[in-house]
Subunit: 330 residues, 2 copies
């Protein structure tokens, strides 16, 4: 029998390069604070040559979520494309060492493993500049049918809509999952990403998505409404579950028949918000796939998000499972 998974994450396989900058650096380079922008190789080289020293650490939105699920004791898998190079080796090592099954074959030709220059301002906010690199080689051929069928939830990041073939891979995986009566989950990823792909995201949400993750800006952008409440009413009609995060204001979980408002965890100091949404999704899905109620799912999401924003890097550094058990959440 094929190994069974709680969560399969599909996303861009990225090594993050984190560097502290002053707000002025973003202004000078005309980079919208808090966003994720796609940059080409030339821009990547220019940005790298002007930014300060960095820290390399495996990232990628859905990859971070898969790692979080595994660290919470869930069975997790990930699909994404790296190249056979040193940063690719780093990515593969880290995700594998975190107990995530990672069957996707490396690209041996073409662009280098993707990296995202993540500029962290003194307030802990992160602004991402992503060179997609080998991610453009990811396509439908990388969707391992058996793994999708064997996963309770197939979770995909909206950023997959940026590389053309990855979008096709997403649609293929969603179809397989639906036909196998599995849940399909999407994170909207970023409000600029929603702007780039609004029509197809809306179609997807209405047709294929069981569990939607979005923050306030993203969900308002999706429905092009001015208030959070308007977005809430709209999304209730479209998804089985929508988990809407509002930073320190906590999260709102809606389904056609339920609505829950759950507090955020308080933390001493926000060091780096990278991965907050990814780890919220990890906690939520780790509880969901253990058949916990929606409030417990949101509370576990908040706990995991709080841990990841208290340090540099988008992957957990503490023992999440133990923390969850102490809180009685798992």
């Amino acid at each position: 029998m094929t190994k069974q998974f709680d969560v399969l994450g599909i996303g861009n396989a990225i090594v993050d390069v984190l560097s502290k900058v002053e707000d002025q650096f973003l202004l000078t380079n005309e980079i919208p604070k808090g966003s994720m922008q796609i940059i080409d190789e030339k821009t990547a080289q220019h940005l790298y040559s002007t930014m300060g020293a960095g820290i390399e650490i495996s990232g990628g939105s859905a990859a971070n979520t898969a790692v979080g699920v595994a660290q919470l004791g869930g069975q997790a898998a990930f699909f994404g494309k790296i190249k056979t190079d040193q940063l690719g080796e780093v990515f593969r090592h880290d995700i594998t060492a975190s107990n995530v099954t990672f069957p996707t074959q490396d690209a041996t030709t073409g662009p280098e493993t993707a990296r995202s220059f993540i500029l962290v301002t003194p307030d802990g906010e992160r602004t991402m500049n992503t060179f997609l690199g080998a991610c453009v080689e990811f396509g439908p051929q990388d969707i391992d049918v058996d793994t999708v069928k064997a996963s309770k939830v197939t979770y995909m990041e909206g950023f997959l809509w940026d590389p053309e073939q990855a979008k096709k891979a997403f649609v293929k995986a969603a179809q397989i999952a639906r036909e196998a009566n599995r849940d399909v989950s999407l994170s909207l990823s970023d409000s600029f990403c929603v702007d780039r792909h609004r029509e197809s995201f809306l179609e997807l949400v209405k047709r294929d998505i069981d569990i939607l993750f979005a923050n306030e800006d993203e969900i308002k952008s999706l429905y092009q409404v001015d208030t959070f409440d308007d977005a809430l009413q709209a999304v209730r009609q479209d998804c089985k579950i929508a988990a809407l995060t509002r930073s320190s204001a906590g999260s709102v979980i809606v389904s056609p028949n339920e609505i829950h408002i759950v507090e955020a965890e308080t933390i001493d100091k926000v060091v780096d918000t990278t991965g907050a949404g990814d780890l919220f999704a990890a906690g939520f899905l780790a509880a969901y796939t253990k058949n916990k109620d929606l409030v417990s799912c949101a509370r576990l999401g908040s706990m995991a998000a709080a841990e990841v924003i208290s340090h540099i890097g988008a992957r957990p550094q503490a023992n999440l499972l133990e923390m969850a058990q102490v809180k009685g959440l798992l």
Copy 2:
């Protein structure tokens, strides 16, 4: 006129791969806690495949010192060998972005850029496992004579004694510096390193070294004595200045005519001791090359060391110059 430097660091050019481990992992792999051991490629692969996810961050003892000097407002240069590969690019970017002049040419063939697997136990202690990689290509041909002559202090790490050609490079640089009436400084690096090279270190200390940096274990190992005081009396006769560090017990600075006992800075929590000695040397030399008295040198060393052990990674994350100015040390 050639650019003038306060400190030229010469050392192994290394990318650190930091990972948290439990003490049991060191026991299982028979790795002496707190040491730096040299590992071959096969051992490196084995260790990497069994250790957890990591964080990549530029390191190298003398390189960390050069970066610290630059961040304290000094003019700094570094010699060390990377390969033209992705981790080499990371190393070059980071040291250059930190305002350190780095003239050494990349190796284009041979082993990959060096890395050190740094295992950080829950007490913040680091245990280093270094694959020297491209560092074995560093040799006398890489000693740029003009830069040595233009540097007030040529600072070298004891780890250079491990790759054979680097040792020759060290001796060449020391000779050039002495002939130019410049100071030559050595860090003993590690007590196991002292064990490996005791005789030649002793000879070097007596003949060539103006400023010696060592921690308690290293200086006791060098003179093969049981007490710190015995080591102290011995080194007084051999060097113009010896700066001896004793972790939380502070430092002792000795010269033939002076002795000073300087408190360590207190910090809230030791997160990762990697780079403590390197940054002590950076602070000390940054003050020394500004003609500060020995106590001020030690105090600036303590300040820089305290900053670097309060976070992950061996290079400063705070604004050291501003901190030093607030304390009236620069």
